[in-house]
């Protein structure tokens, strides 16, 4: 398969759209915009998984797509919006690194992912290689978001969008055993539940979800 054939192109394009939304996540300044962008990324991921299911003829991927949509495009954003409203959070995101610098770092990471994956997977089909490179870029950008945000919800969204990249990688490799995709998709829910419990706990203890307030309790508390 190569360019010019619809299955390849659409899969590639959907992967690129997920990557684009990772950048959009880094660019946002308001919490509700971040949550909405994350919901869109989840929907696109579900679409990508469903398309791969159609192309590879693997019906298990439709289940993964349904779980991804239900969890990441509906349930988790809904819960996060409720959390924001409940604690009446200040609406800004407060990045630790400026947005321009984060975007530049994001492009550097995406290029790095490309340069690492493409030579290392030289023996495989072009579609699989580029999909892996795209997926690794999404993973690294999720990691960047985790590092450069101080707000707890942004950190959680960074972690969840990192998982999005993993799901993208898993659905891209044809013939991946179903246990991988289903477990990844289902574990996302577990992570989200635990993160939600944390957020509630922290909100009650600290009256804010800024993780900088945790810094003083780091280490020996000296």
């Amino acid at each position: 398969m190569s360019f010019g054939q619809l299955p390849y192109d659409l899969a590639h394009l959907l992967g690129g759209a997920v990557l684009l939304l990772s950048f959009v996540l880094l660019y946002q300044r308001r919490i509700s915009a971040v949550i909405n962008a994350f919901a869109t990324q989840g929907a696109l991921l579900a679409l990508a998984a469903a398309w791969q299911g159609y192309v590879q003829g693997a019906t298990g991927l439709y289940v993964t797509a349904a779980i991804a949509f239900g969890a990441k495009a509906v349930l988790i954003p809904f819960a996060l919006h409720r959390l924001v409203r409940r604690f009446n959070l200040q609406r800004g995101v407060d990045p630790a690194l400026g947005i321009g610098v984060s975007l530049i770092a994001g492009v550097a990471l995406a290029s790095f992912a490309l340069l690492v994956v493409l030579p290392a997977t030289a023996g495989q089909r072009a579609l699989a290689r580029e999909d892996l490179a795209l997926a690794l870029s999404v993973v690294l950008l999720g990691g960047l978001m985790m590092i450069t945000r101080r707000n707890l919800i942004s950190q959680v969204i960074g972690l969840l969008s990192l998982e999005n990249g993993l799901i993208l990688a898993a659905v891209g490799v044809a013939g991946m055993p179903l246990v991988m995709e289903l477990s990844t998709a289902a574990l996302v829910l577990m992570l989200a539940v635990i993160a939600g419990v944390f957020a509630l706990q922290m909100g009650e203890s600290f009256q804010s979800l800024d993780t900088e307030s945790l810094d003083t309790h780091r280490g020996e508390g000296e």
Partner: protein, 319 residues
């Protein structure tokens, strides 16, 4: 024979663009008004304004130099030349061999340069403010445009717009991630270059929000007519460029007959209508950005273009 058809198509294209440009601006304005629940001015109103202004004598400040007199003509000339190069309904026009994307970018830059100089010429604060903002935005928008041109060039093997459109028309390239990124980047640049919301409000006269308007605040009479016409030409040029590159179907091939031209013309009008509607909806749906956020916006577009170029470069270099 081919030179003759080339000449004919070029002249027809020029006439079309000249006639269409103010109508396009009028349509956008009318659609925005309708979407906001107003009746809106007639779509042909810009033509009426132009003709009215052309008959009037411009009033210049005492210390205005030759720049204030010459700049409108330079800007209109550059815009017209650039518009002549971007194909609308047929490829293979007379000037097609010169239709280089970088040349078009340069002509647009020339027009911007003339506008900025005219703004600064008389020494008013508004003019200087508008000129500095415009140049600051351009410093980020132009590299984004060049990167998009780079992406097209890697894919098509040349920066000639005509050839690029031909190759895209064949569809052998398919949908590509880099093209998607280039599209997003180009859309952002188009919004910035044409002084549309969210970068600049074309209808405002509040100093905090003016960019484009600030530079032509001093113009009057036929100079103002030329500035307005220049803005309409640039908008038409950008919409035609976006339609030609990302929606290349329907364009008549080089050397085709009048039937193909008519078909191409109908498709072109349809594409322009669709893009105009999209622009009107987009402008009505979002709010204008704060001025110091615009560099972030354009910087993001630049980085997207860079990313698309890197993707393309590495994947074609390695496969």
């Amino acid at each position: 024979m081919s030179i003759l058809t080339g000449l004919v198509t070029q002249l027809l294209h020029l006439a079309l663009i000249l006639a269409l440009a103010p109508v396009l601006t009028g349509c956008v304005r009318w659609l925005k008004a309708r979407l906001m629940g107003r009746r809106g001015p007639h779509p042909l109103q810009p033509w009426r304004d132009l003709l009215k202004l052309l008959k009037k004598r411009p009033v210049l400040a005492e210390n205005a130099s030759i720049i204030s007199r010459a700049a409108p003509y330079v800007a209109v000339g550059a815009a017209l030349l650039a518009a002549a190069l971007v194909p609308s309904f047929a490829r293979g026009m007379l000037f097609a061999p010169f239709a280089d994307l970088l040349l078009i970018a340069g002509l647009l830059a020339l027009g911007r340069f003339a506008m900025a100089l005219a703004g600064m010429d008389v020494g008013t604060s508004f003019g200087g403010l508008g000129a500095t903002r415009e140049m600051a935005f351009a410093a980020l928008a132009e590299p984004a445009l060049v990167l998009a041109a780079l992406i097209f060039a890697i894919l098509a093997g040349t920066t000639n717009l005509d050839v690029i459109i031909g190759i895209f028309q064949e569809g052998a390239l398919g949908l590509r991630v880099s093209l998607g990124f280039a599209a997003v980047a180009l859309l952002a640049v188009a919004v910035a270059e044409n002084a549309r919301i969210p970068v600049d409000n074309p209808a405002t006269h509040l100093e905090l929000t003016m960019v484009h308007e600030a530079m032509i605040l001093e113009a009057s009479g036929r100079h103002l007519a030329l500035w307005d016409f220049q803005a309409s030409l640039r908008l038409t040029l950008w919409l035609a460029l976006l339609a030609a590159v990302f929606l290349p179907f329907g364009m008549a091939a080089p050397g085709a007959g009048p039937v193909a031209w008519v078909l191409g013309l109908c498709v072109f009008i349809a594409k322009m209508a669709a893009l105009t509607f999209a622009l009107a909806v987009f402008e009505s749906a979002i709010a204008k950005m704060r001025v110091f956020r615009v560099p972030e916006f354009l910087g993001a577009a630049l980085l997207l273009g860079l990313l698309g170029a890197v993707f393309l470069f590495v994947s074609t270099g390695l496969s």
